[in-house]
Symmetry: C3
Subunit: 345 residues, 3 copies
């Protein structure tokens, strides 16, 4: 594979080291001292690349690959050319990712766009901000009074951190992001252009139009949360908006005032969570899902893309549709509708 312009591998790995890392079983004839320096798709790979195959759909590509090594299952291992060092694992993609993380540690979270360390001259830091040693702040960033930033954290170019905001250690705050009225844990990734902590959308009717309700709460983002580009998270009114440990949020998601999200949830792009929504742990939302205000989604529930959730979802529920209902019910209804349509022709 031609050199990656944006990432250079941090190290080389022998096939033997890949076996050790992944617990793979080598096919006969594997050369454990063969050196791998990159990963690649099956059809682009050359002798220095690691590839993987998990899905029979791509078996033909395995037959003709020129990769140096391939992680795959017992089912496919005989298909690879002899030149390939084939490594058998139960979960080829998982093992492949483990190697990729080892080769490219620089890709595990966004780094300084200026490839700098320390505080850029062109950043504006309020004298009352508290910046730990080992923080990197890129040009154009603005840090307000009493904001506190922990060691290992990178603040991207033109990012804005408001007064009293606390950001933990080893975080990456993307370029152009704004964070106010928020407490951010350790290991959090906030991508470019996120908007965290602005006022919730709360008004009450008045004689002369809508009256703004003061929004006095905060946004709490716990450890190891990742938040996608352009996502907006409003602060709470009296209580707080909370993102639980390990939750991952995609791009352009809207999270309303005093939403509470549990641990390790997955929220795909463009979802909208109205004020007061509760997601328990391990909930998964497909893209463009909307959830009405004060709805509770139970632990481990999965909601299909574009669904409109208007009632509470029990733990483990798999719901879909508008309004969302259990998946089985939805598809039964869809099938019945199509059958009727066919019958009526």
């Amino acid at each position: 594979m031609s050199e990656r312009p944006f990432f250079r591998p941090a190290q080389r790995m022998t096939v033997g080291e890949i076996v050790t890392l992944t617990g793979a079983v080598s096919r006969d004839g594997v050369r454990l001292d063969h050196v791998i320096t990159n990963i690649a798709p099956l059809d682009w790979a050359d002798a220095s690349d690691l590839v993987f195959l998990a899905d029979g759909k791509y078996a033909d590509l395995l037959r003709s690959t020129r990769a140096g090594a391939c992680l795959t299952t017992a089912r496919f291992e005989s298909l690879a050319p002899k030149s390939v060092n084939v490594l058998r694992v139960p979960n080829p993609h998982g093992a492949f990712v483990a190697v990729a993380r080892k080769l490219f540690p620089g890709a595990l979270r966004p780094t300084s766009l200026f490839e700098a360390t320390g505080i850029a001259e062109a950043a504006t830091i309020h004298p009352a901000a508290r910046i730990e040693h080992g923080v990197t702040i890129d040009p154009g960033a603005v840090i307000g009074p009493r904001a506190a930033i922990g060691t290992g954290t990178v603040i991207g170019a033109t990012a804005v951190i408001g007064p009293d905001v606390q950001i933990g250690r080893d975080c990456s705050i993307g370029p152009g992001a704004t964070i106010v009225h928020a407490l951010i844990g350790d290991g959090v990734i906030v991508h470019a252009g996120c908007r965290i902590g602005q006022d919730g959308f709360r008004f009450q009717p008045g004689r002369d139009g809508h009256i703004k309700v003061p929004q006095l709460g905060r946004v709490i983002v716990k450890d190891n949360v990742e938040i996608g580009a352009g996502t907006t998270i409003d602060r709470g009114g009296i209580t707080d908006t909370v993102m639980g440990v390990g939750t991952k949020i995609d791009n352009l998601v809207q999270i309303g005032h005093h939403v509470s999200i549990g641990r390790n949830c997955i929220i795909v792009a463009q979802c909208g969570l109205s004020g007061g929504v509760v997601l328990e742990d391990n909930v998964m939302l497909g893209g463009q899902v909307g959830i009405a205000d004060h709805i509770r989604v139970g632990e481990g529930a999965m909601i299909g893309g574009q669904s409109g959730v208007m009632s509470d979802v029990p733990a483990g529920g798999k719901w879909v549709g508008y309004p969302a209902v259990p998946r089985r019910e939805y598809f039964r209804s869809l099938v019945a509708q199509r059958k009727r349509l066919k019958d009526s022709k």
Copy 2:
């Protein structure tokens, strides 16, 4: 309640002052000289906090609250412990908001993140810009030639104001927002990362691909409009895109070229209004609603979340669904469909 880290009350209020402000009737035994310094939820409150109860669902919390004072209706007033100064009002939440606005005037619109006044040294102001006395401009902001900004307005960090843009008095422009080709009234709040005034999405077919139609209009934002984080408002092609007085727009809303929005509309997050849409006064759109181009939505109409509006909606209409139809029709159809499904089992 523990101290709010991000807001400090501007003043203390006695229970007597709260009575005066809200017109409340005191329960027997109320101490009018008791001092309130904060607001809180029923279960977090202590003796210096004001709480409210409007909904029987939370009546149990009222029974055990340790709040200093509570706004509630006649129905619930006997439930509160004797220690609580109970104030009877017809609309407890409205009265509660009135007190919150008095205690926390700093939360009524976003203020300088640098807690500064005047023009930050790290802002870039074109020499031909016209900045009134009493304007605050935070670090990293960029103001173009002939832009005019009225007194009392705050321009957030890294916000960008284009040439000839006019912004009235007492506005808050959020950090990272960009405003071009626009006239902004008084008392307008634009949250972080809004994009106002860029080209509308207009092309016409050509032999060699799509040809860009010049977009020569403006965005007019009238007094007391509020626009959420990340929302995009395109300028008109020949005529203007207009947001009427007092209209409130949530986060990540898309408003196309020459859309015209009336007074005091409410537009919840992630709605999309195609080019030429007209909303008359007092229209309410739920979240993620889409409206096809050149549709007119009549005065006071309410559109349910995620609806797709493909035909004009009469004044006062309550519509929902995809394609949107009157709510009654929609639910009748839904009930019929579910009944059929049940019958067919």
Copy 3:
């Protein structure tokens, strides 16, 4: 029409020059030396303005217009007052746009908000960046190491360009946009606040939560692409995310990792394309469409607004609905459903 505050025409055109440019046929009595300096709607126009009429709906406005010249079809030409220089063309709007492009070349792509040329003093350029002669960089922009920018390109205020990014010639990068891990062609327009090249949303399950999959690919944006405000385009994991020549993307669109988009596609606001989606050439997506991962949409297909595409769409298909089906099928089903509802009353 009152003077446009934001655009000044670059030249004057006589009616004769408009005839030459558009191939129009003059109505009897047209004064070819009449001077046009602006364009306007029928009802706002005065003697120096060009208008057009293509739709009978606005015929009444033509009857009373005071425009200096009007482009229209044979069908309507007799309706215009005698004072109007009427020019007959088969496609009045197309001809009108051609004149508008000639009068207002400054509106064909966003220009420097500082009306400057060269590199602003308040921009931060890494010494290893490669900026061609003739590039304009507005205040507050940040350009990373080894980024290369071609002549004629304008980088907006506070835009951020990451290391090794390549941007071609005659591009406009909007204020507040961020571009990393990307190669951008010639003549590309990126509007305010776009987020291009950040990590795709890829995780794999682990004992201690979701494990981030390194995202090592790029975003490739080919010549003459236009990308709307606030749109997010993630880079690929192993392979690249690609936007084909001449494709136009509206505001707040989400494009996932390793999506591949062909030539001259039109993607209306707030669409969401999941990872691995393929759009062939000339595909049109209405607003708020969602497409499930790895779906292929064939050449020239058109998808109706708010549809949810969960299966491959053949070339030329016109699909709509949730889940999306061919338009004919969808409307047949809708009609049948409404009929049943009526019958059951």
